[in-house]
Amino acid sequence: MHQRSLSTKLFAAVAACGLALTAQAQINVGVTLSATGPAASLGIPEKNTFELLPTTIGGQKVNWIVLDDGSDTTKAVTNTKKLISEDKVDVVVGSTITPNSLAMIDVVADAETPMISMAASARIVDPANPKTKWVFKTPQSDSLMADAIAIHMKANGVKTMGYIGFADGYGDGWLAEMRRSAQTAGIKIVGEEKYNRTDASVTGQVLKLVAANPDAILIAAAGTPGATPQKELAARNYKGKIYQTHGVANPDFLRVVGKDGNGTILPIGPMLVFEQLPDTNPLKKSSAEYIGKYEAKYGKDSRSTFGGHAWDAYLLLSSAIPEALKKAKPGTKEFRAALRDALENTKELVATHGVYTMTPSEHNGLDNRARTMIRIDNGKWVLAK
């Protein structure tokens, strides 16, 4: 009797310790994104996606802490510092836009915490150095998409092109990449114009572009502002090809651009038109799962490629966290280092935008499977050839 009660007590004590340890061993994921401000049309779908995520990964409870940085760099940095020092997060996801992400790099590197950015510029993860070793990103780089456009243009006999894009980080990044891709493809850029998101009209810019008469025009914008130059071009009876970027891949754009959008071509992650993908494409299944969940909660056709970047960050974490758990406990410095290592070792992870394979020098990890060209046909997205 005496011995049994002792061993029972011992067992209870050990069990209690174990429970306590597992209770404390929750994983904190800090997220900063731009749900308000100029980048709201990118950040809101991301925020919506985070609300769909499960609260356990690999048997561990996951706490998603989502903060808004209002498209402001200072706020993004402040949020990151708060997440790291107050909420003791094991990993930071964010931010939505490039300048915010660039500003966060120093902070996460100093705190030795891995970071997954949802912004487009390759500068966030390149070149590999002691700081960027902590940084990963899910969206396709502008360079990948710009190449796709250049290739399509060349295949369709385009010799000269014009560019009109946002006067901000998004547009700047695209312009830089397009200049490079166009040069490689032997296409001459005959006009470069910029406009602001909230501009009432782009008559001047469009007139100048049309006067140069390029074979094709690329519009680099995000959200419905992408419709403004397009409608103006239609009003000016521009007959050349019009290309857009993945930034406009949302239903509101289709609503605003209306008939003037028919025939527009853009490169995007295949998830947007997953129904039209062949069954052999591995992305079809993962996209169906994500978009099914998203549209069940937010409505039919509410899908957005930006939300996909958030979901892909989750998929990266869901594959990396179990690996990291084998080496360390959450909430410790070792765990964060192990998580970083696990992320870097991601191989052939099928996500919604593409298949990720990370290496020490490649922290984006996408290849040509992450892009496809689509066209707007009668107000719908259709796979282009």
């Binding site: 300048p99 100093d110 510029s121």
Partner: protein, 587 residues
């Protein structure tokens, strides 16, 4: 140990405690509060005190940040040197912009600040060298005597050290010769110029001061975050700085710190707790923030600081030390004879002739009265002499030299002091400070000397001089009262004290007896006689006949802009034309 001193020490103790014991995030917030306070401080001076509303401070912050970013990243220049470069660049740009925009009065100025604020923002974003909209990474951390300030806790000391220094300097500035002039800039420009203040130049100096503070904040920001892009330097942030200054209390330097703290904390608290109340799906922080600010301003128009200041009983003003008098103004070369010669002065406003070829002269050492019915043109004549208006034709000579068309401060510089028909004191300033403003031309301390407290000796002399003038006019008990709290009659006497503090040779008094009681008038009359005995020359515009007849040596009577009569009081009293026009006709 006065209560305010205790409060100050408590504040300093809290400030130091934060980086030593508080959680990391508090230090982060504290750093940002310090950075914003520096900029808001400049705005308190520029907008709160001098009345020049500026939305463009964020652009200067950007200038300071980008200068150091480009120099230290692209050219590997030491950050301390790039601070100097940033300050020089800001100085140059602020001088240019200030020169153009500060000429604008009223509401043109805020818009001009918005205009160049937006221009600079887009310039930052479109120039490749500055990294465009994506920004510049890799800014090095600051190195202070071998200690690399990567850690926020160390940086905190640097930021707050600078903030406290800026507070100290601005405080000194406000309580000094240029400070008094700046405090008079808002709404009392004419008066300040009458005492020798070069208002245009002073406005630019204040503007540059605010710009330099902003640039320092930008430099600190760049080395704290080690990344810059245009977003924090746009018009939205410019608006927010002004917001902080006004909500905190734009009238006092502490308002800057209070405003910065309040706004930063409010936003952080809203971000933390609002989703718990209103649910996660919306983004209501900015809405609630806006509503809270409106409610706050409705309850506290002058900002939050005055509330806090009331909690701490005001310190008794320090006893004035006995100090030697300021150097006297140079006296006019003429010791007897005509001091002021008005020759056929003529002023027309369009078709209306206010002063019609008027001529008279004031002898050195006499009290001349200028009287006439309402609308006779006395005030216009007065303004022609003091420089507030320019004569259409004719000449006015002071001490043999023409002063017609000279600016008020040039005339003041010659030794002419004046009072105003509508009392123009700075109501919020003490009587002592108001009178000390009169001695502006007798001092030389500039903004730099004042900010670094190098002017304390001269300041003591000035204050002693002002106290003496106040004692002479019999208002010694009210030395430290706010000028606006005195009854109108006493305010008029303060104006005379102020004019005396300028040590003038010619005193222009515009209806000094209006609003005074009988005994007060008698005291004023005896004061003026005393001054005359000391050699002062006085030109008096007045309506009270008893006062005038008993005091003046000679009288000039005006009617419809022309001279009706001139002579001894007794002669005027029996002059039939004067009696008919003014004194009530022959009985």
């Amino acid at each position: 140990m006065t209560p305010s001193r205790v409060a100050l020490l408590a504040f300093l103790a809290l400030l130091i405690a934060i980086p030593l014991v508080a959680p990391q995030f508090w230090v982060t917030l504290g750093n940002y509060v310090g950075l914003y306070s520096i900029v808001a401080l400049g705005l308190v001076l520029l907008t709160g005190v001098a009345g020049q509303t500026s939305f463009g401070q964020a652009a200067f912050v950007g200038l300071g940040a980008y200068t150091t970013a480009v120099l230290s990243v692209q050219y590997a220049v030491s950050p301390w040197l790039s601070l100097c470069a940033g300050l020089v660049l800001t100085l140059a740009l602020a001088l240019c912009l200030g020169f153009i925009t500060l000429r604008m009065k009223g509401h043109y100025l805020p818009l001009a600040t918005i205009a160049w604020g937006i221009s600079l923002y887009f310039l930052f974003g479109n120039v490749e060298l500055l990294g465009g909209h994506t920004g510049l990474t890799g800014i090095p951390a600051l190195n202070l005597f071998g200690l690399e300030l990567r850690n926020e806790r160390y940086f905190y000391f640097l930021i707050w050290g600078i903030t406290l220094a800026a507070l100290w300097a601005t405080r000194n500035l406000l309580d000094s010769r240029p400070g008094r002039a700046v405090r008079a800039l808002r709404g009392h420009l004419e008066m300040a110029e009458a005492f020798g203040v070069d208002a245009a130049r002073l406005k630019i100096v204040v503007f540059v001061y605010a710009a330099l503070l902003a640039a320092i904040s930008g430099w600190l920001y760049a080395h704290l975050q080690r990344f810059v892009n245009p977003t924090p330097f746009g018009i939205n942030q410019g608006i927010e700085y002004l917001f902080m200054a006004v909500v905190g209390g734009a009238g006092s330097v502490w308002g800057a710190v209070v405003g910065a703290t309040l706004i930063t904390l409010a936003k952080q608290l809203l971000q933390d707790y609002l989703p718990l109340i209103l649910g996660k799906s919306g983004n209501f922080e900015i809405v609630v923030f806006g509503i809270l600010m409106v409610v706050l301003l409705q309850r506290a128009r002058d900002g939050v600081w005055p509330w806090i200041a009331r909690l701490v009983p005001a310190a008794k003003p320090p006893r004035l030390a006995d100090a030697p008098p300021l150097p006297l103004r140079p006296q006019p070369s003429i010791t007897t004879g005509t001091l002021l010669d008005v020759r056929a002065a003529h002023k027309a406003f369009g078709g209306l002739v206010a002063v019609n070829n008027l001529s008279f002269a004031i002898q050195r050492g006499e009290i001349l009265g200028l009287i006439g019915p309402n609308g006779a043109g006395k005030s216009t004549m007065f303004n022609l002499i003091s420089g507030a208006l320019e004569p259409t034709s004719g000449d006015i000579l002071y001490d043999g030299e023409s002063i017609a068309g000279s600016l008020p401060y040039e005339i003041a510089r010659r030794g002419v002091g004046r009072t105003f028909q509508h009392v123009k004191l700075v109501p919020a300033m003490s009587v002592l400070d108001n009178v000390a403003l009169g001695a502006y031309l007798r001092g030389t301390a500039g903004v730099v000397a004042a900010a670094f407290a190098l002017d304390r000796a001269e300041e003591a002399r000035t204050k002693a001089e002002a106290a003496r003038a106040i004692g002479r006019v019999g208002l010694a008990p009210h030395l430290h009262d706010a000028a606006g709290s005195l009854p109108l009659g006493k305010q008029r006497i303060v104006e005379i004290a102020r004019a005396l503090a300028a040590d003038p040779a010619l005193l222009l008094l515009d209806e000094p007896a209006a609003g005074l009681r009988f005994l007060e008038k008698q005291e004023l009359a005896s004061l003026l006689r005393q001054l005359k005995g000391e050699g002062m020359t006085v030109l008096l515009v007045e309506h009270d006949m008893d006062f005038v007849m008993g005091l003046t040596d000679r009288l000039v009577v005006m009617e419809f802009g022309q001279k009706l009569a001139e002579g001894l009081p007794a002669e005027i009293q029996s002059n039939p034309a004067v009696l008919e026009a003014y004194l009530g006709g022959v009985a």
